[in-house]
Protein backbone atom coordinates (compact mmCIF):
# COMPACT_ATOMS: atom_id res chain seq x y z
CA UNK A 1 0.00 0.00 0.00
CA UNK A 2 1.42 3.38 -0.99
CA UNK A 3 1.56 6.39 1.32
CA UNK A 4 -0.98 8.04 -1.02
CA UNK A 5 -3.50 5.40 0.09
CA UNK A 6 -2.53 5.38 3.76
CA UNK A 7 -2.97 9.09 4.42
CA UNK A 8 -6.71 9.33 3.46
CA UNK A 9 -7.48 6.30 5.68
CA UNK A 10 -5.64 7.85 8.62
CA UNK A 11 -7.58 11.06 8.02
CA UNK A 12 -10.80 9.01 8.04
CA UNK A 13 -9.78 7.46 11.37
CA UNK A 14 -9.28 10.90 12.93
CA UNK A 15 -12.77 11.83 11.67
CA UNK A 16 -14.28 8.71 13.26
CA UNK A 17 -12.70 9.56 16.62
CA UNK A 18 -14.10 13.13 16.47
CA UNK A 19 -17.59 11.83 15.64
CA UNK A 20 -17.30 9.28 18.47
CA UNK A 21 -16.46 12.06 20.95
CA UNK A 22 -19.40 14.09 19.61
CA UNK A 23 -21.91 11.23 20.02
CA UNK A 24 -20.69 10.39 23.55
CA UNK A 25 -20.84 14.09 24.55
CA UNK A 26 -24.41 14.34 23.25
CA UNK A 27 -25.41 11.24 25.25
CA UNK A 28 -23.96 12.76 28.41
CA UNK A 29 -25.76 16.05 27.62
CA UNK A 30 -29.08 14.15 27.36
CA UNK A 31 -28.41 12.54 30.75
CA UNK A 32 -27.54 15.96 32.22
CA UNK A 33 -30.80 17.41 30.87
CA UNK A 34 -32.64 14.54 32.59
CA UNK A 35 -31.22 15.65 35.95
CA UNK A 36 -32.50 19.23 35.39
CA UNK A 37 -36.08 17.92 35.84
CA UNK A 38 -37.48 20.07 33.03
CA UNK A 39 -41.21 20.01 32.21
CA UNK A 40 -42.04 16.84 30.27
CA UNK A 41 -42.73 18.50 26.88
CA UNK A 42 -39.43 20.46 27.00
CA UNK A 43 -37.55 17.32 28.08
CA UNK A 44 -39.11 15.27 25.24
CA UNK A 45 -38.27 17.90 22.59
CA UNK A 46 -34.67 18.35 23.77
CA UNK A 47 -33.96 14.66 24.27
CA UNK A 48 -35.43 13.57 20.91
CA UNK A 49 -33.56 16.41 19.17
CA UNK A 50 -30.27 15.21 20.71
CA UNK A 51 -31.04 11.59 19.75
CA UNK A 52 -31.82 12.70 16.17
CA UNK A 53 -28.45 14.51 15.89
CA UNK A 54 -26.68 11.42 17.28
CA UNK A 55 -28.43 9.16 14.75
CA UNK A 56 -27.55 11.61 11.94
CA UNK A 57 -23.87 11.51 12.97
CA UNK A 58 -23.81 7.70 13.34
CA UNK A 59 -25.63 7.04 10.04
CA UNK A 60 -23.86 9.83 8.14
CA UNK A 61 -20.28 9.12 9.19
CA UNK A 62 -20.06 5.65 10.77
CA UNK A 63 -22.30 4.12 8.08
CA UNK A 64 -20.88 6.45 5.38
CA UNK A 65 -24.26 7.65 4.14
CA UNK A 66 -22.95 11.17 3.60
CA UNK A 67 -19.93 10.11 1.54
CA UNK A 68 -21.47 7.15 -0.31
CA UNK A 69 -23.70 8.92 -2.80
CA UNK A 70 -25.37 5.93 -4.44
CA UNK A 71 -28.83 6.44 -5.93
CA UNK A 72 -29.98 2.92 -5.07
CA UNK A 73 -29.20 3.51 -1.37
CA UNK A 74 -31.14 6.75 -1.31
CA UNK A 75 -34.13 5.05 -3.00
CA UNK A 76 -34.10 2.22 -0.44
CA UNK A 77 -33.69 4.62 2.49
CA UNK A 78 -36.35 7.08 1.27
CA UNK A 79 -38.89 4.25 0.90
CA UNK A 80 -37.91 2.96 4.34
CA UNK A 81 -38.29 6.42 5.88
CA UNK A 82 -41.76 6.83 4.30
CA UNK A 83 -42.90 3.41 5.58
CA UNK A 84 -41.46 3.99 9.07
CA UNK A 85 -43.19 7.38 9.26
CA UNK A 86 -46.44 5.75 8.10
CA UNK A 87 -46.07 3.08 10.78
CA UNK A 88 -45.44 5.83 13.35
CA UNK A 89 -48.15 8.28 12.29
CA UNK A 90 -51.09 6.24 10.90
CA UNK A 91 -51.93 4.36 14.13
CA UNK A 92 -51.87 7.68 16.02
CA UNK A 93 -54.29 9.24 13.52
CA UNK A 94 -56.62 6.25 13.87
CA UNK A 95 -56.24 6.40 17.64
CA UNK A 96 -57.58 9.94 17.76
CA UNK A 97 -60.41 9.16 15.30
CA UNK A 98 -59.76 12.25 13.21
CA UNK A 99 -61.03 10.83 9.91
CA UNK A 100 -63.64 13.41 8.79
CA UNK A 101 -67.17 12.24 8.13
CA UNK A 102 -66.86 9.07 10.17
CA UNK A 103 -69.61 8.40 12.69
CA UNK A 104 -68.58 6.43 15.76
CA UNK A 105 -71.10 4.67 17.93
CA UNK A 106 -70.62 3.48 21.47
CA UNK A 107 -71.33 -0.24 21.49
CA UNK A 108 -70.44 -0.89 25.12
Amino acid sequence: MTTDNIEPIKKEIRGYVIIFIGIVSLSLTAVFINYLHLPLVAAIILTILIAAVQVFLAAGYFMHLLSEKKLVLYIVLTLTAILVLAVLILPSIEHHNTIPGTVYTNVS
Binding site: F20, S27, V31, A58, F62, V87, L88
Partner: protein, 199 residues
Protein backbone atom coordinates in the same frame (compact mmCIF):
# COMPACT_ATOMS: atom_id res chain seq x y z
CA UNK B 1 -16.96 -29.49 -9.05
CA UNK B 2 -18.05 -26.12 -10.39
CA UNK B 3 -15.39 -23.48 -10.87
CA UNK B 4 -17.92 -20.64 -11.11
CA UNK B 5 -17.40 -17.84 -8.64
CA UNK B 6 -20.00 -15.63 -7.01
CA UNK B 7 -19.99 -12.31 -8.90
CA UNK B 8 -19.69 -8.83 -7.38
CA UNK B 9 -18.24 -9.84 -4.01
CA UNK B 10 -15.45 -7.30 -4.40
CA UNK B 11 -16.11 -5.18 -7.46
CA UNK B 12 -19.18 -2.93 -7.70
CA UNK B 13 -22.11 -3.78 -9.97
CA UNK B 14 -22.37 -1.46 -12.96
CA UNK B 15 -26.07 -0.69 -12.26
CA UNK B 16 -26.10 -0.20 -8.47
CA UNK B 17 -22.56 1.04 -7.95
CA UNK B 18 -22.29 -1.27 -4.93
CA UNK B 19 -21.04 -4.80 -4.40
CA UNK B 20 -23.96 -7.20 -3.88
CA UNK B 21 -23.47 -7.88 -0.18
CA UNK B 22 -23.58 -4.17 0.63
CA UNK B 23 -26.89 -3.69 -1.15
CA UNK B 24 -28.13 -6.83 0.60
CA UNK B 25 -27.24 -5.58 4.08
CA UNK B 26 -28.90 -2.21 3.38
CA UNK B 27 -32.13 -3.96 2.32
CA UNK B 28 -31.95 -6.06 5.48
CA UNK B 29 -31.37 -2.95 7.61
CA UNK B 30 -34.37 -1.30 5.92
CA UNK B 31 -36.56 -4.20 7.10
CA UNK B 32 -35.01 -3.90 10.56
CA UNK B 33 -35.82 -0.17 10.64
CA UNK B 34 -39.47 -1.02 9.94
CA UNK B 35 -39.47 -3.66 12.69
CA UNK B 36 -38.16 -1.23 15.31
CA UNK B 37 -40.31 1.56 13.82
CA UNK B 38 -43.40 -0.55 14.51
CA UNK B 39 -42.26 -1.06 18.10
CA UNK B 40 -41.64 2.67 18.59
CA UNK B 41 -45.11 3.28 17.15
CA UNK B 42 -46.54 0.83 19.71
CA UNK B 43 -44.65 2.65 22.46
CA UNK B 44 -46.10 6.03 21.41
CA UNK B 45 -49.64 4.62 21.20
CA UNK B 46 -49.37 2.93 24.59
CA UNK B 47 -47.93 6.06 26.19
CA UNK B 48 -50.46 8.45 24.64
CA UNK B 49 -53.32 6.14 25.58
CA UNK B 50 -52.17 5.58 29.17
CA UNK B 51 -53.82 7.43 32.05
CA UNK B 52 -50.54 7.46 33.93
CA UNK B 53 -47.03 6.79 32.60
CA UNK B 54 -43.93 6.67 34.80
CA UNK B 55 -40.76 8.55 33.95
CA UNK B 56 -38.17 5.96 32.94
CA UNK B 57 -35.62 7.35 35.40
CA UNK B 58 -37.97 6.57 38.31
CA UNK B 59 -37.84 2.84 37.50
CA UNK B 60 -34.64 2.28 35.51
CA UNK B 61 -31.03 3.07 36.40
CA UNK B 62 -29.91 6.04 34.27
CA UNK B 63 -26.18 5.64 35.17
CA UNK B 64 -26.23 1.98 34.05
CA UNK B 65 -28.10 2.90 30.85
CA UNK B 66 -25.67 5.75 30.14
CA UNK B 67 -22.70 3.44 30.79
CA UNK B 68 -24.14 0.92 28.31
CA UNK B 69 -24.61 3.72 25.76
CA UNK B 70 -20.92 4.64 26.02
CA UNK B 71 -19.97 0.95 25.72
CA UNK B 72 -22.00 0.51 22.53
CA UNK B 73 -20.74 3.72 20.90
CA UNK B 74 -17.17 2.66 21.78
CA UNK B 75 -17.76 -0.74 20.18
CA UNK B 76 -18.97 1.02 17.02
CA UNK B 77 -15.71 2.98 16.94
CA UNK B 78 -13.53 -0.13 17.43
CA UNK B 79 -15.53 -1.91 14.70
CA UNK B 80 -14.76 0.96 12.31
CA UNK B 81 -11.10 0.97 13.34
CA UNK B 82 -10.84 -2.79 12.74
CA UNK B 83 -12.12 -2.26 9.19
CA UNK B 84 -9.65 0.60 8.72
CA UNK B 85 -6.85 -1.68 10.01
CA UNK B 86 -7.66 -4.22 7.28
CA UNK B 87 -7.57 -1.47 4.65
CA UNK B 88 -4.12 -0.58 6.00
CA UNK B 89 -3.18 -4.31 5.66
CA UNK B 90 -2.61 -4.58 9.42
CA UNK B 91 -4.21 -7.94 10.24
CA UNK B 92 -2.82 -8.12 13.79
CA UNK B 93 -4.37 -4.76 14.69
CA UNK B 94 -7.64 -5.88 13.09
CA UNK B 95 -7.75 -8.94 15.38
CA UNK B 96 -7.15 -6.81 18.48
CA UNK B 97 -9.78 -4.20 17.54
CA UNK B 98 -12.48 -6.69 16.53
CA UNK B 99 -11.70 -8.62 19.73
CA UNK B 100 -12.28 -5.43 21.75
CA UNK B 101 -15.57 -4.88 19.86
CA UNK B 102 -16.76 -8.36 20.88
CA UNK B 103 -15.67 -7.82 24.51
CA UNK B 104 -17.49 -4.46 24.68
CA UNK B 105 -20.64 -6.14 23.30
CA UNK B 106 -20.36 -8.90 25.92
CA UNK B 107 -19.92 -6.26 28.62
CA UNK B 108 -23.03 -4.47 27.31
CA UNK B 109 -25.01 -7.71 27.61
CA UNK B 110 -23.65 -8.31 31.13
CA UNK B 111 -24.79 -4.84 32.28
CA UNK B 112 -28.17 -5.41 30.60
CA UNK B 113 -28.51 -8.79 32.36
CA UNK B 114 -27.65 -7.14 35.67
CA UNK B 115 -30.34 -4.52 35.04
CA UNK B 116 -32.87 -7.28 34.31
CA UNK B 117 -31.74 -9.07 37.48
CA UNK B 118 -32.37 -5.91 39.54
CA UNK B 119 -35.87 -5.64 38.10
CA UNK B 120 -36.70 -9.31 38.70
CA UNK B 121 -35.32 -9.11 42.23
CA UNK B 122 -37.93 -6.42 42.96
CA UNK B 123 -40.62 -8.51 41.23
CA UNK B 124 -40.80 -6.02 38.36
CA UNK B 125 -41.78 -8.31 35.49
CA UNK B 126 -43.21 -7.52 32.04
CA UNK B 127 -46.67 -8.45 33.34
CA UNK B 128 -46.48 -5.81 36.09
CA UNK B 129 -47.14 -2.71 33.94
CA UNK B 130 -47.41 -1.50 30.34
CA UNK B 131 -44.16 0.45 30.75
CA UNK B 132 -42.26 -2.65 31.86
CA UNK B 133 -43.88 -4.74 29.10
CA UNK B 134 -42.68 -2.38 26.34
CA UNK B 135 -39.30 -1.95 28.13
CA UNK B 136 -38.61 -5.69 28.19
CA UNK B 137 -39.92 -6.18 24.63
CA UNK B 138 -37.79 -3.43 23.09
CA UNK B 139 -34.59 -3.98 25.07
CA UNK B 140 -34.99 -7.77 24.77
CA UNK B 141 -35.29 -7.57 20.98
CA UNK B 142 -32.31 -5.22 20.91
CA UNK B 143 -30.31 -7.64 23.07
CA UNK B 144 -31.11 -10.45 20.60
CA UNK B 145 -29.64 -8.26 17.85
CA UNK B 146 -26.52 -7.75 19.98
CA UNK B 147 -26.20 -11.53 20.42
CA UNK B 148 -26.56 -11.96 16.64
CA UNK B 149 -23.81 -9.38 16.09
CA UNK B 150 -21.53 -11.11 18.59
CA UNK B 151 -22.01 -14.47 16.82
CA UNK B 152 -21.16 -12.96 13.40
CA UNK B 153 -18.21 -10.92 14.70
CA UNK B 154 -16.81 -13.91 16.62
CA UNK B 155 -16.97 -16.02 13.45
CA UNK B 156 -15.20 -13.27 11.48
CA UNK B 157 -12.61 -12.91 14.26
CA UNK B 158 -11.98 -16.67 14.45
CA UNK B 159 -12.50 -19.22 11.65
CA UNK B 160 -13.88 -16.68 9.18
CA UNK B 161 -10.66 -14.66 9.28
CA UNK B 162 -8.84 -17.37 7.29
CA UNK B 163 -10.31 -15.72 4.20
CA UNK B 164 -7.83 -12.85 4.71
CA UNK B 165 -5.03 -15.12 3.38
CA UNK B 166 -6.83 -16.08 0.17
CA UNK B 167 -9.24 -13.19 -0.58
CA UNK B 168 -8.24 -10.14 1.48
CA UNK B 169 -10.50 -7.65 -0.34
CA UNK B 170 -13.57 -9.86 0.01
CA UNK B 171 -12.80 -10.35 3.71
CA UNK B 172 -12.42 -6.57 4.17
CA UNK B 173 -15.86 -6.14 2.57
CA UNK B 174 -17.32 -8.72 4.97
CA UNK B 175 -16.03 -6.69 7.91
CA UNK B 176 -17.54 -3.53 6.40
CA UNK B 177 -20.93 -5.26 6.13
CA UNK B 178 -20.75 -6.66 9.67
CA UNK B 179 -19.86 -3.10 10.73
CA UNK B 180 -22.91 -1.62 9.01
CA UNK B 181 -25.12 -4.03 10.94
CA UNK B 182 -23.29 -3.22 14.17
CA UNK B 183 -23.69 0.55 13.69
CA UNK B 184 -27.41 0.02 13.08
CA UNK B 185 -27.74 -1.86 16.39
CA UNK B 186 -25.89 1.06 18.03
CA UNK B 187 -28.19 3.53 16.29
CA UNK B 188 -31.33 1.78 17.61
CA UNK B 189 -29.92 2.00 21.14
CA UNK B 190 -29.30 5.74 20.68
CA UNK B 191 -33.12 6.07 20.44
CA UNK B 192 -34.00 3.37 22.96
CA UNK B 193 -31.90 4.83 25.78
CA UNK B 194 -33.47 8.33 25.89
CA UNK B 195 -36.99 7.10 25.13
CA UNK B 196 -37.04 4.42 27.84
CA UNK B 197 -34.61 5.75 30.47
CA UNK B 198 -34.86 9.54 30.28
CA UNK B 199 -38.42 10.43 29.26
Amino acid sequence: MSTETIPYTVESRYDTGLYNAKLGIWLFLASEAMLFGALFSSYILLRVGAVDWPRGSSILSVPLGAFNTVLLISSSLTMLLSWAALRLKDFKKFKILLGITILLALLFLSVKSYEYYLKFEHHLFASKSTFLAIYFTMTGLHALHIIGGIVVNTYLWGPGSRMWKTQPERFTNRIEIAGLYWHFVDLVWLFLFPVLYLL
